[in-house]
């Protein structure tokens, strides 16, 4: 991880951003090919924010996100194979096919999900930060949420608790201008969202979420404060979602094509690409990076296709902890709805 001082090397960041973009494009294709189902939320256009914040997050720090999380998972180091297999609902997915697109996680990397109820992840992240403090661990939690989530009661209660109890958590508001079809101005009486941190005497600031270096600088600074001074903060990253709210949404009922094109004119990937050219990286080298991303994603698709479907006999896998089977033993007689067959703690199968 880069120290706060030294400027981050751009090339690996570009590699991450391209990987994110290519992955989302492929996910949309696979969704339309009916290999992915449910809700599928893409983050194309938001790569500087996803990659920048994940670059600033240290190995021992914790991560919580909403449901628009493919990019965060990849940038956190979850393999494209594990993510794609999850989208395909396969056994080798990071949630073994149980969670899908909205519920990615990787506990080994401190990623505690992938949540689908708007703002529901904020109290959870607050609790993770409380646990870090109780365990005397010096890390911090980064909690991602969208601009639409700041109008939920859970936002208010979580920020008040985090500030009142001096918890090491940074609330990352990914402001992509819309919550589904509702613009920030139509949803929030204070459209400068970061200013709401003041209601908790908490630091709040806004950053250009399409400038990966600015995102890294701000995130590192706030995470350092959180770790060292146990000061929570709000970081609002201004960015833009290129695709619809989910793959099912064309994304044009509430905004114009021009608006989208205007944002794509200063695309975060292009910006880094230009910077790298300035640093003397050749077009060929950059194209090679792009091709490499294509190959990694193609490999992920092959892996996902080969990963077995979950065993239907494992329908209730993970629902309850080992030993619970015995507790449920006497619920079965008289059951008329197959509950008797549910097993919680058997393995996942070969």
């Amino acid at each position: 991880m880069a120290a706060v001082a030294s400027p981050p090397a751009l090339r690996p960041l570009y590699e991450q951003m391209v990987l994110g973009r290519v992955f989302e494009t492929e996910a949309e294709r696979q969704y339309k090919a009916a290999r992915i189902g449910g809700y599928c939320h893409l983050s194309s256009g938001q790569e500087a924010t996803t990659v920048g914040t994940m670059h600033a997050l240290q190995a021992e720090d914790l991560l919580v996100t909403g449901y628009r999380s493919h990019g965060f998972a990849l940038a956190r180091g979850v393999s494209p194979e594990a993510v794609m297999a999850e989208l395909f609902g396969r056994r080798d997915g990071c949630a073994h096919g149980r969670g899908g697109s909205m519920h990615l996680l990787d506990v080994d990397r401190g990623y505690y999900g992938g949540w689908g109820i708007v703002a529901g992840q904020l109290p959870v992240a607050t609790g993770l930060a409380l646990a870090l403090v109780r365990q005397g661990r010096p890390q911090a939690v980064l909690c991602e949420l969208g601009d639409g989530a700041v109008n939920m009661g859970a936002w208010h209660e979580s920020l008040n608790l985090a500030a009142l109890w001096d918890l090491p958590v940074v609330f990352l508001v990914v402001n992509n201008h819309y919550g589904m079809g509702t613009s920030v101005e139509r949803a929030s009486a204070e459209p400068e969202l970061y200013k709401r941190a003041a209601a908790y005497r908490m630091a709040g600031e806004r950053v250009d979420g399409d400038d990966v270096e600015a995102v890294i600088e701000a995130t590192e600074r706030l995470l350092t404060q959180a770790r060292q001074e146990r000061r929570p903060a709000v970081l609002e990253a201004l960015t833009y979602r290129y695709r619809g709210h989910s793959v099912a949404d064309a994304g044009l009922a509430y905004r114009t094509k021009d608006e989208i094109l205007e944002h794509q004119a200063h695309d975060p990937l292009t910006r880094v690409r230009t910077r790298l050219r300035g640093e003397g990286v050749t077009e060929d080298e950059l194209d090679a990076i792009d091709r490499d991303a294509d190959e990694r994603v193609a490999a992920a698709v092959r892996f996902a296709l080969e990963s077995p479907e979950p065993d239907v006999a494992q329908l209730a896998y993970g629902m309850h902890a080992a030993g619970s089977q015995e507790q449920f033993a006497r619920m079965r007689p008289g059951s008329a709805f197959g509950e008797a067959e549910l097993t919680f703690d058997a393995g996942l199968g070969a």
Partner: protein
């Protein structure tokens, strides 16, 4: 309130989807009564997450079709307050799963007003929202809490299974002077059926319907489970020569026990079907009522079919295995009739 057409009313019917029938009901009631207004996330500009309100913003304007921030507790409560002052708010909750953040306003506020304030003020609020699973929406987005609301004194709960009932019951709910929860369902939106065009057409709350006549067994269901039950009944007739009667509850509170009991008294066998989890669910109340009302009529225990008791998994194969499919309904019927498969 009745299903009788008003004098000089439009007659005839039209085949449309459940979704279109709901839209027609909203359109008619918005046009009929100034006090009616629609409120919820994405009901306006976006035309509804599931397009039920498509076109209404254009026709009635932003004051009658009000987009809200993501703040269910806030705007459900705003509906409660507006209703107390005589408005007729129709609040859309994108899916039932999200009503959990507004439970306090529904259970501790809307449902309490009439009795707690000694009848001094009423709350004619309508909340409409789809429940259900089947689209790989996973654990947080595939639930049916129907019984929780149906078990709350002070509320009324309807759950139409056909486009005609969707129109008639939503209109009845909007005209009712008490808080009414209208339970819709995601897979059912695309179901088609004949719908009366008469704007005076309403379906009375608290009346079940015999959706299919039969003599060997009674299938009791509501909402999308009724669609499943009808499919199972057809297959039972063809494949097994079993004549199943299907009782479509239509209302969960008040619950029309009379119609259910009359059917079971005739068939002597009952299978209760629901989309949700059966334990402590709607089918529990049905079984309890049936065994009490039809104790001497029953030739076999009341059977129950519902969602497997797990948080809904994402993988298609797992989700399918969890759902109360026709196969499981037929299995329960054969069990009830003591027929080996």
């Amino acid at each position: 309130m009745s299903a009788v057409a008003t004098p000089g009313a439009v007659t005839g019917t039209k085949v449309m989807t459940y979704r279109e029938a709901l839209r027609l009901a909203l359109q008619e009631e918005l046009a009929r009564d100034e006090r009616v207004f629609v409120m919820g996330e994405e009901v306006g500009v976006f035309e509804g997450a599931y397009k039920v309100t498509a076109g209404l913003l254009g026709e009635f304007g932003a004051d009658r079709v009000r987009d809200t921030p993501i703040s269910e507790e806030g705007f459900v409560g705003a509906g409660v307050g507006a209703a107390m002052l005589g408005e007729r708010p129709v609040v859309e909750i994108m899916t039932l799963n999200f009503l959990l953040v507004a439970m306090d306003q529904v259970i501790n506020h809307a449902a309490k007003i009439g009795a707690m304030f000694g009848g001094e003020v009423r709350c004619p609020l309508v909340i409409r929202t789809p429940n259900g699973a089947g689209n790989q929406l996973t654990a947080q987005h595939s639930q049916s809490f129907d019984g929780w609301f149906a078990g709350t004194p002070g509320l009324k709960v309807v759950a139409p299974a056909t486009p005609a009932d969707a129109k008639g019951l939503l209109k009845a709910a909007i005209r009712d002077d008490d808080p009414v929860l209208v339970l819709e369902n995601l897979p059912i939106y695309k179901e088609k059926g004949e719908v009366p065009l008469d704007p005076g057409f309403v379906v009375p709350i608290g009346r079940a319907a015999v959706a299919r006549e039969g003599s060997d067994v009674t299938l009791v269901a509501h909402s999308f489970a009724t669609v499943r039950a009808l499919r199972a009944a057809a297959e039972l007739a063809e494949q097994h020569g079993i004549s199943a009667e299907v009782v479509d509850l239509r209302s969960l509170r008040p619950l029309d026990v009379e119609t259910v009991a009359a059917s079971v008294a005739k068939t002597n066998h009952a299978v209760c079907v629901e989309e949700g989890w059966p334990s402590y669910g709607v089918s529990a109340e049905l079984a309890a009522r049936i065994q009490h009302a039809c104790f001497d009529d029953l030739d076999a225990p009341v059977e129950r079919v519902g969602m497997a008791e797990v948080p809904l998994p994402y993988a298609k194969g797992l989700e399918l295995a969890a759902m109360p499919g026709e196969g499981r309904i037929i299995g329960a019927v054969l069990r009830s009739l003591g027929v080996a498969r």
